[in-house]
Symmetry: C2
Subunit: 265 residues, 2 copies
């Protein structure tokens, strides 16, 4: 099934009211893939806020108030909350999907035989509109029923849908940690250096950052590598390390060494 065109929206319960739920549930409803019957959050106000963005959805904050008659249960909660919720929620014959990159789908096996994953590979912030059509969505299902529902949801909002099992999702997540979390940390260190040493901040590098990203996407990042380490310019590297704080200098030397080794291979 390639899209939800011509199909009735699935009657759905959304478990969670955080950034992922708030971005994904209204988009899925707008695309006609689901009709949200109820939003659950342990914090009543949060459940109500999301329910207001959905058509006719109720808001509940007690697990026993979650309706049992939905066709789809979408768990968009923090990783460590999924396993806990799986033990306190009532099993039924519906399709259950979670939205996590890092959690195996079998965690839902106590709730139904038709479980799976709908994992949008993006960071969501409340109040920030994201163009979901370009966001890659990775899907998995324990059965063809579960996989078909996950795919139907994914195709309804994204042009970039892939099947991926738990091991692959974990590798995607590890790669995203390198590419996004670690990168952001390097920006934090650069921001510190700029504020402390030059009286400016990371914004002075913004045009350079945009261009670095643009080039890395145009060619392969490995083919876009520049800087003293890939040139093997030991003088510049030592000059830089000497003016950085102790832990910054250590990281500078570590990453420079890694780059030199990488391009020597």
């Amino acid at each position: 099934m390639e899209s939800g065109a011509g199909m009735k929206p699935l009657k759905a319960v959304v478990i969670g009211s955080g950034n992922v739920a708030s971005a994904v549930a209204p988009a899925l409803e707008k695309a006609g893939a689901i009709s949200v019957e109820c939003v659950y959050s342990p914090t009543p106000g949060h459940a109500a806020t999301l329910a207001e963005k959905l058509h006719g959805a109720s808001a509940v904050s007690e697990v026993q108030d979650i309706p049992a008659d939905a066709e789809l249960y979408l768990l968009a909660v923090k990783d460590d909350a999924i396993a806990h919720l799986a033990t306190v929620l009532k099993p039924n014959g519906a399709v259950w999907l979670h939205t996590s990159g890092g959690v195996d789908c079998s965690v839902l096996s106590s709730l139904t035989s038709d479980y799976g994953v709908f994992y949008p590979l993006q960071t969501f912030s409340k109040g920030v509109e994201v163009d979901l059509s370009v966001v890659p969505v990775f899907v998995e299902g324990s059965t063809s029923v579960a996989l078909d529902v996950a795919k139907r949801l994914a195709h309804a909002i994204s042009d970039n849908v892939h099947e991926a099992d738990g091991a692959t999702r974990c590798k995607l997540h590890a790669a995203a940690v390198f590419a996004c979390n670690f990168t952001n940390h390097l920006w934090a260190v650069a921001d510190d250096v700029l504020r402390r040493e030059a009286g400016v901040d990371i914004h002075v590098l913004e045009p350079l950052l945009r261009e670095t990203l643009r080039k890395a996407m145009l060619v392969r990042p490995a083919d876009a590598q520049t800087g003293p380490a890939v040139r093997g310019d030991v003088n510049v590297m030592e000059k830089h390390a000497a003016l950085l704080a102790g832990d910054e200098a250590e990281m500078y030397r570590y990453l420079s060494r890694h780059i030199m080794d990488y391009y020597k291979r």
Copy 2:
């Protein structure tokens, strides 16, 4: 002096025909800050290609053919070529500026008393148009004459002009290595992981990368940090490290440790 408005373009010689020279010289001429008399490059074809983009500029490939009568000599060459060129070029009373972040301006002191730096903090590629008006330009001068010329050039093309001495430029450069060169390397590693482990490539992370950069610029990067390390999620970190190759796993652990220590402070 805030702009070159109403002033005659400076008669200029451009030394170098690489990415910086090819981006900056035509922009400075178009803005009316300089009129390029001659382009020098040891490779005749390179000098000619840039000269063709300038109005009435000659192209020379022998040092002794560089005209002596210009008001400005702009050295846009690789860092290690600047010191060498300073020993073989003929001194005169003109203003001499180089475009490097990493080289002290005193390297030009054998050529003139009015020397300085015009350092655009951006990475340039031939054939790629860059909006120079947002590019920060850092200027320095040995005398008020040299500084005024450097400022005049900078204000002619950019709205983002700062004075910075050699030590500050070196710190800016070190910060840029963290923010851009090291970041690009992390993208290269992520690209390797994605290709090897998931049959996709770095493009699958492009929406996430754009959003990560957007958030880091909106708040401070340190306030935008996400991921297992800042959460102290040891289980996820060990799961990730276990599925990476040896040197990738080592770097994953190293950077995770650095993030944990940073946010513990």
